[in-house]
Amino acid sequence: MIRKGERVAVGVSGGKDSLALSHLLSKLKERLPFTFEALMIDEGIYGYRDHTIEKAVKSLNALGISYKIFSFQKEFGFLLDEVESKVSKCSYCGVLRRYILNKKARELGFSKLAVGHNLDDEVQTILMNLLRGDFSRFSRTGYRYRKVHEKFVPRIKPLRGIPEKEVYLYALVNEVDFDESICPYATEAYREDVRNFLNYMESKRPSTKYTLLKSYDELFPYLEALTPKRISTCAKCGEPSISDECKACLMLEELSR
Protein backbone atom coordinates (compact mmCIF):
# COMPACT_ATOMS: atom_id res chain seq x y z
CA MET A 1 0.00 0.00 0.00
CA ILE A 2 2.84 2.37 0.93
CA ARG A 3 6.21 1.95 -0.75
CA LYS A 4 9.64 2.56 0.72
CA GLY A 5 10.47 6.26 0.84
CA GLU A 6 7.03 7.32 -0.30
CA ARG A 7 5.47 10.66 0.74
CA VAL A 8 1.87 10.18 1.80
CA ALA A 9 -0.81 12.83 2.36
CA VAL A 10 -3.56 12.00 4.84
CA GLY A 11 -6.97 13.62 4.53
CA VAL A 12 -7.90 14.66 8.07
CA SER A 13 -11.30 15.88 9.23
CA GLY A 14 -10.87 15.77 12.99
CA GLY A 15 -13.19 12.78 13.41
CA LYS A 16 -12.17 9.41 14.85
CA ASP A 17 -11.33 7.70 11.54
CA SER A 18 -8.86 10.20 10.16
CA LEU A 19 -7.22 10.82 13.54
CA ALA A 20 -6.98 7.09 14.34
CA LEU A 21 -5.38 6.67 10.90
CA SER A 22 -2.93 9.50 11.62
CA HIS A 23 -2.04 7.87 14.93
CA LEU A 24 -1.59 4.48 13.27
CA LEU A 25 0.63 5.93 10.53
CA SER A 26 2.76 7.81 13.06
CA LYS A 27 3.38 4.48 14.85
CA LEU A 28 4.12 2.71 11.54
CA LYS A 29 6.53 5.45 10.56
CA GLU A 30 8.73 4.54 13.52
CA ARG A 31 9.41 1.20 11.83
CA LEU A 32 8.97 1.84 8.12
CA PRO A 33 10.74 4.33 5.84
CA PHE A 34 8.02 6.70 4.63
CA THR A 35 6.81 10.18 5.50
CA PHE A 36 3.36 11.67 5.77
CA GLU A 37 1.59 14.93 6.41
CA ALA A 38 -2.05 15.78 7.15
CA LEU A 39 -4.18 17.83 4.76
CA MET A 40 -7.34 19.45 6.07
CA ILE A 41 -10.14 21.19 4.24
CA ASP A 42 -12.13 24.03 5.77
CA GLU A 43 -15.37 24.09 3.77
CA GLY A 44 -16.75 27.02 5.75
CA ILE A 45 -19.33 25.38 8.02
CA TYR A 46 -19.71 27.71 10.97
CA GLY A 47 -20.01 26.06 14.36
CA TYR A 48 -18.83 22.71 13.02
CA ARG A 49 -15.70 22.69 10.91
CA ASP A 50 -14.03 25.39 13.02
CA HIS A 51 -14.38 23.08 16.05
CA THR A 52 -13.30 19.87 14.26
CA ILE A 53 -10.21 21.62 12.83
CA GLU A 54 -9.32 22.96 16.25
CA LYS A 55 -9.55 19.42 17.67
CA ALA A 56 -7.57 17.97 14.78
CA VAL A 57 -4.79 20.56 15.13
CA LYS A 58 -4.48 19.74 18.84
CA SER A 59 -4.30 15.99 18.20
CA LEU A 60 -1.88 16.30 15.28
CA ASN A 61 0.40 18.58 17.33
CA ALA A 62 0.35 16.03 20.16
CA LEU A 63 1.40 13.34 17.68
CA GLY A 64 4.05 15.56 16.09
CA ILE A 65 2.37 15.38 12.68
CA SER A 66 2.67 18.42 10.42
CA TYR A 67 -0.41 19.63 8.56
CA LYS A 68 -1.76 22.09 6.05
CA ILE A 69 -5.24 23.60 5.94
CA PHE A 70 -6.94 24.63 2.69
CA SER A 71 -10.24 26.45 2.55
CA PHE A 72 -13.14 26.77 0.11
CA GLN A 73 -12.93 30.50 0.81
CA LYS A 74 -9.37 30.77 -0.43
CA GLU A 75 -9.62 28.22 -3.27
CA PHE A 76 -13.10 29.08 -4.59
CA GLY A 77 -14.02 32.39 -2.92
CA PHE A 78 -17.03 31.21 -0.91
CA LEU A 79 -18.03 29.32 2.23
CA LEU A 80 -20.21 26.21 2.07
CA ASP A 81 -22.58 28.05 4.42
CA GLU A 82 -23.17 30.61 1.64
CA VAL A 83 -24.07 28.05 -1.04
CA GLU A 84 -27.70 28.34 -2.10
CA SER A 85 -28.85 25.31 -4.01
CA LYS A 86 -31.81 23.05 -4.58
CA VAL A 87 -29.75 19.90 -4.10
CA SER A 88 -28.01 18.93 -0.86
CA LYS A 89 -24.86 20.84 0.07
CA CYS A 90 -23.22 17.44 0.61
CA SER A 91 -22.90 16.85 -3.14
CA TYR A 92 -20.97 20.11 -3.60
CA CYS A 93 -18.93 19.53 -0.50
CA GLY A 94 -17.88 15.99 -1.51
CA VAL A 95 -16.84 16.89 -5.06
CA LEU A 96 -15.05 20.15 -4.15
CA ARG A 97 -13.27 18.65 -1.14
CA ARG A 98 -11.93 15.72 -3.19
CA TYR A 99 -10.91 18.19 -5.91
CA ILE A 100 -8.78 20.27 -3.50
CA LEU A 101 -7.33 17.20 -1.78
CA ASN A 102 -6.16 15.65 -5.05
CA LYS A 103 -4.82 18.94 -6.44
CA LYS A 104 -2.95 19.95 -3.28
CA ALA A 105 -1.60 16.46 -2.62
CA ARG A 106 -0.15 16.45 -6.14
CA GLU A 107 1.21 20.01 -6.02
CA LEU A 108 2.90 19.26 -2.70
CA GLY A 109 4.59 16.21 -4.21
CA PHE A 110 2.71 13.43 -2.40
CA SER A 111 2.42 10.15 -4.28
CA LYS A 112 -0.53 8.70 -2.31
CA LEU A 113 -3.54 10.14 -0.55
CA ALA A 114 -4.63 8.15 2.50
CA VAL A 115 -8.25 8.43 3.63
CA GLY A 116 -9.89 7.11 6.79
CA HIS A 117 -12.74 5.03 5.33
CA ASN A 118 -13.49 2.07 7.56
CA LEU A 119 -15.17 -1.29 6.86
CA ASP A 120 -18.63 0.10 7.62
CA ASP A 121 -18.15 3.06 5.22
CA GLU A 122 -16.96 0.74 2.47
CA VAL A 123 -19.73 -1.87 2.68
CA GLN A 124 -22.37 0.85 3.01
CA THR A 125 -21.07 2.49 -0.17
CA ILE A 126 -20.88 -0.83 -2.03
CA LEU A 127 -24.43 -1.79 -1.11
CA MET A 128 -25.84 1.70 -1.75
CA ASN A 129 -24.37 1.81 -5.25
CA LEU A 130 -25.57 -1.71 -5.98
CA LEU A 131 -29.10 -0.94 -4.76
CA ARG A 132 -29.15 2.28 -6.79
CA GLY A 133 -27.88 0.52 -9.89
CA ASP A 134 -24.99 2.97 -10.15
CA PHE A 135 -22.47 0.77 -11.94
CA SER A 136 -19.94 3.52 -12.48
CA ARG A 137 -19.66 4.29 -8.77
CA PHE A 138 -20.08 0.61 -7.85
CA SER A 139 -16.90 -0.17 -9.75
CA ARG A 140 -14.88 2.46 -7.84
CA THR A 141 -14.87 1.22 -4.23
CA GLY A 142 -11.95 -1.16 -4.64
CA TYR A 143 -8.84 -1.88 -2.62
CA ARG A 144 -6.64 -0.09 -5.14
CA TYR A 145 -6.80 2.93 -7.40
CA ARG A 146 -5.09 2.92 -10.76
CA LYS A 147 -3.23 6.02 -11.84
CA VAL A 148 -5.82 6.85 -14.47
CA HIS A 149 -4.35 10.30 -15.11
CA GLU A 150 -0.90 11.79 -14.52
CA LYS A 151 -2.49 14.39 -12.25
CA PHE A 152 -4.44 11.86 -10.22
CA VAL A 153 -3.00 10.96 -6.81
CA PRO A 154 -4.04 7.36 -6.07
CA ARG A 155 -5.95 6.96 -2.84
CA ILE A 156 -5.26 4.35 -0.21
CA LYS A 157 -7.66 3.23 2.49
CA PRO A 158 -5.66 1.53 5.25
CA LEU A 159 -8.71 1.15 7.56
CA ARG A 160 -10.89 -0.37 4.87
CA GLY A 161 -11.05 -3.77 6.59
CA ILE A 162 -11.50 -2.45 10.13
CA PRO A 163 -15.04 -2.15 11.56
CA GLU A 164 -16.08 1.33 12.67
CA LYS A 165 -16.48 0.07 16.22
CA GLU A 166 -12.86 -1.10 16.31
CA VAL A 167 -11.57 2.19 14.88
CA TYR A 168 -13.44 3.99 17.66
CA LEU A 169 -11.95 1.60 20.22
CA TYR A 170 -8.45 2.13 18.80
CA ALA A 171 -8.87 5.90 19.20
CA LEU A 172 -10.26 5.49 22.71
CA VAL A 173 -7.56 3.09 23.90
CA ASN A 174 -4.77 5.25 22.43
CA GLU A 175 -6.29 8.42 23.88
CA VAL A 176 -6.65 10.07 20.51
CA ASP A 177 -8.71 13.21 21.08
CA PHE A 178 -11.23 13.43 18.25
CA ASP A 179 -14.36 15.41 17.50
CA GLU A 180 -17.74 13.71 17.67
CA SER A 181 -19.99 16.47 16.47
CA ILE A 182 -22.29 15.92 13.52
CA CYS A 183 -22.19 18.10 10.42
CA PRO A 184 -25.29 20.36 10.39
CA TYR A 185 -25.80 19.58 6.70
CA ALA A 186 -25.57 15.77 7.03
CA THR A 187 -28.60 14.43 5.20
CA GLU A 188 -27.60 10.92 4.34
CA ALA A 189 -30.98 9.25 4.79
CA TYR A 190 -30.17 6.48 2.29
CA ARG A 191 -26.84 5.66 3.96
CA GLU A 192 -28.58 5.64 7.33
CA ASP A 193 -31.05 2.97 6.11
CA VAL A 194 -28.24 0.86 4.65
CA ARG A 195 -26.15 1.30 7.81
CA ASN A 196 -29.06 0.13 9.99
CA PHE A 197 -29.67 -2.86 7.74
CA LEU A 198 -26.00 -3.91 7.77
CA ASN A 199 -25.72 -3.46 11.53
CA TYR A 200 -28.88 -5.52 12.01
CA MET A 201 -27.47 -8.29 9.75
CA GLU A 202 -24.12 -8.14 11.52
CA SER A 203 -25.75 -8.57 14.94
CA LYS A 204 -27.79 -11.54 13.66
CA ARG A 205 -25.08 -12.99 11.40
CA PRO A 206 -21.65 -11.93 12.62
CA SER A 207 -19.07 -11.32 9.85
CA THR A 208 -21.70 -10.15 7.35
CA LYS A 209 -19.71 -6.95 6.67
CA TYR A 210 -16.40 -8.77 6.13
CA THR A 211 -18.08 -11.27 3.82
CA LEU A 212 -19.66 -8.50 1.77
CA LEU A 213 -16.31 -6.71 1.40
CA LYS A 214 -14.57 -9.96 0.50
CA SER A 215 -17.19 -10.76 -2.14
CA TYR A 216 -16.78 -7.28 -3.59
CA ASP A 217 -12.99 -7.59 -3.62
CA GLU A 218 -13.21 -10.87 -5.52
CA LEU A 219 -15.45 -9.19 -8.04
CA PHE A 220 -13.31 -6.04 -8.21
CA PRO A 221 -10.73 -7.13 -10.86
CA TYR A 222 -13.62 -7.86 -13.25
CA LEU A 223 -15.22 -4.49 -12.52
CA GLU A 224 -11.88 -2.73 -12.89
CA ALA A 225 -11.37 -4.34 -16.32
CA LEU A 226 -14.58 -2.68 -17.51
CA THR A 227 -13.63 0.82 -16.35
CA PRO A 228 -11.48 3.19 -18.45
CA LYS A 229 -7.71 2.86 -18.00
CA ARG A 230 -7.25 6.53 -18.78
CA ILE A 231 -9.52 9.46 -18.08
CA SER A 232 -9.48 12.83 -19.80
CA THR A 233 -8.40 16.29 -18.73
CA CYS A 234 -10.81 19.07 -17.82
CA ALA A 235 -10.66 21.69 -20.62
CA LYS A 236 -11.18 24.43 -18.06
CA CYS A 237 -8.89 23.68 -15.13
CA GLY A 238 -6.60 20.94 -16.44
CA GLU A 239 -7.45 18.54 -13.61
CA PRO A 240 -8.39 14.89 -14.23
CA SER A 241 -11.96 14.43 -15.43
CA ILE A 242 -14.26 11.72 -16.76
CA SER A 243 -15.81 14.14 -19.27
CA ASP A 244 -14.59 17.25 -21.12
CA GLU A 245 -15.25 19.45 -18.13
CA CYS A 246 -14.81 18.23 -14.56
CA LYS A 247 -17.57 18.06 -12.01
CA ALA A 248 -15.90 20.70 -9.80
CA CYS A 249 -15.79 23.27 -12.66
CA LEU A 250 -19.40 22.51 -13.61
CA MET A 251 -20.47 23.04 -10.00
CA LEU A 252 -18.45 26.24 -9.64
CA GLU A 253 -20.05 27.62 -12.84
CA GLU A 254 -23.51 26.73 -11.59
CA LEU A 255 -22.83 28.43 -8.26
CA SER A 256 -21.54 31.61 -9.86
CA ARG A 257 -24.77 32.06 -11.84
Binding site: C90, E164, K165, Y168, L169, E180, C183, N199, E202
Partner: protein
Protein backbone atom coordinates in the same frame (compact mmCIF):
# COMPACT_ATOMS: atom_id res chain seq x y z
CA UNK B 1 -32.03 -9.01 32.63
CA UNK B 2 -32.57 -5.42 33.67
CA UNK B 3 -29.86 -2.80 33.35
CA UNK B 4 -29.47 0.95 33.50
CA UNK B 5 -28.19 2.58 30.35
CA UNK B 6 -26.56 5.97 30.20
CA UNK B 7 -27.03 7.10 26.61
CA UNK B 8 -24.08 9.43 26.06
CA UNK B 9 -25.21 11.24 22.93
CA UNK B 10 -28.70 11.94 24.29
CA UNK B 11 -27.41 12.52 27.82
CA UNK B 12 -30.26 10.31 29.11
CA UNK B 13 -30.44 7.59 31.76
CA UNK B 14 -32.84 4.73 31.00
CA UNK B 15 -33.65 1.52 32.81
CA UNK B 16 -34.35 -1.20 30.26
CA UNK B 17 -35.30 -4.86 30.52
CA UNK B 18 -34.70 -7.59 27.95
CA UNK B 19 -33.64 -11.19 27.30
CA UNK B 20 -30.04 -10.16 26.70
CA UNK B 21 -27.90 -7.10 25.92
CA UNK B 22 -28.69 -7.29 22.17
CA UNK B 23 -32.40 -7.03 22.85
CA UNK B 24 -31.87 -4.25 25.40
CA UNK B 25 -29.78 -2.23 22.91
CA UNK B 26 -32.39 -2.74 20.19
CA UNK B 27 -35.02 -1.30 22.52
CA UNK B 28 -33.10 1.99 22.63
CA UNK B 29 -32.42 2.05 18.90
CA UNK B 30 -28.90 0.56 18.83
CA UNK B 31 -27.27 -2.80 18.29
CA UNK B 32 -23.98 -4.43 19.18
CA UNK B 33 -22.29 -3.13 15.99
CA UNK B 34 -23.16 0.50 16.53
CA UNK B 35 -22.04 1.12 20.11
CA UNK B 36 -19.25 0.64 22.62
CA UNK B 37 -20.19 -0.22 26.21
CA UNK B 38 -18.43 1.13 29.26
CA UNK B 39 -18.86 0.21 32.94
CA UNK B 40 -17.15 2.21 35.68
CA UNK B 41 -15.10 3.96 33.01
CA UNK B 42 -13.83 0.71 31.51
CA UNK B 43 -14.71 -0.59 28.05
CA UNK B 44 -16.45 -3.98 28.25
CA UNK B 45 -17.71 -6.48 25.70
CA UNK B 46 -21.40 -7.30 25.44
CA UNK B 47 -21.02 -10.68 27.18
CA UNK B 48 -19.62 -8.97 30.29
CA UNK B 49 -22.80 -7.03 31.03
CA UNK B 50 -24.45 -8.27 34.25
CA UNK B 51 -27.97 -7.95 35.56
CA UNK B 52 -28.35 -4.68 37.44
CA UNK B 53 -25.33 -3.00 35.81
CA UNK B 54 -25.11 0.69 35.00
CA UNK B 55 -23.66 0.77 31.48
CA UNK B 56 -22.60 3.76 29.36
CA UNK B 57 -23.62 3.46 25.71
CA UNK B 58 -21.29 5.25 23.28
CA UNK B 59 -22.46 5.42 19.64
CA UNK B 60 -19.55 4.87 17.24
CA UNK B 61 -21.07 6.40 14.11
CA UNK B 62 -19.18 9.46 12.95
CA UNK B 63 -20.74 12.75 12.05
CA UNK B 64 -19.89 13.21 8.37
Amino acid sequence: MRIKLRLLREGALREVEGEDISEILEKVGFNTSSVILRRNGEVIIEEEVLDGDLVEVIPVVSGG
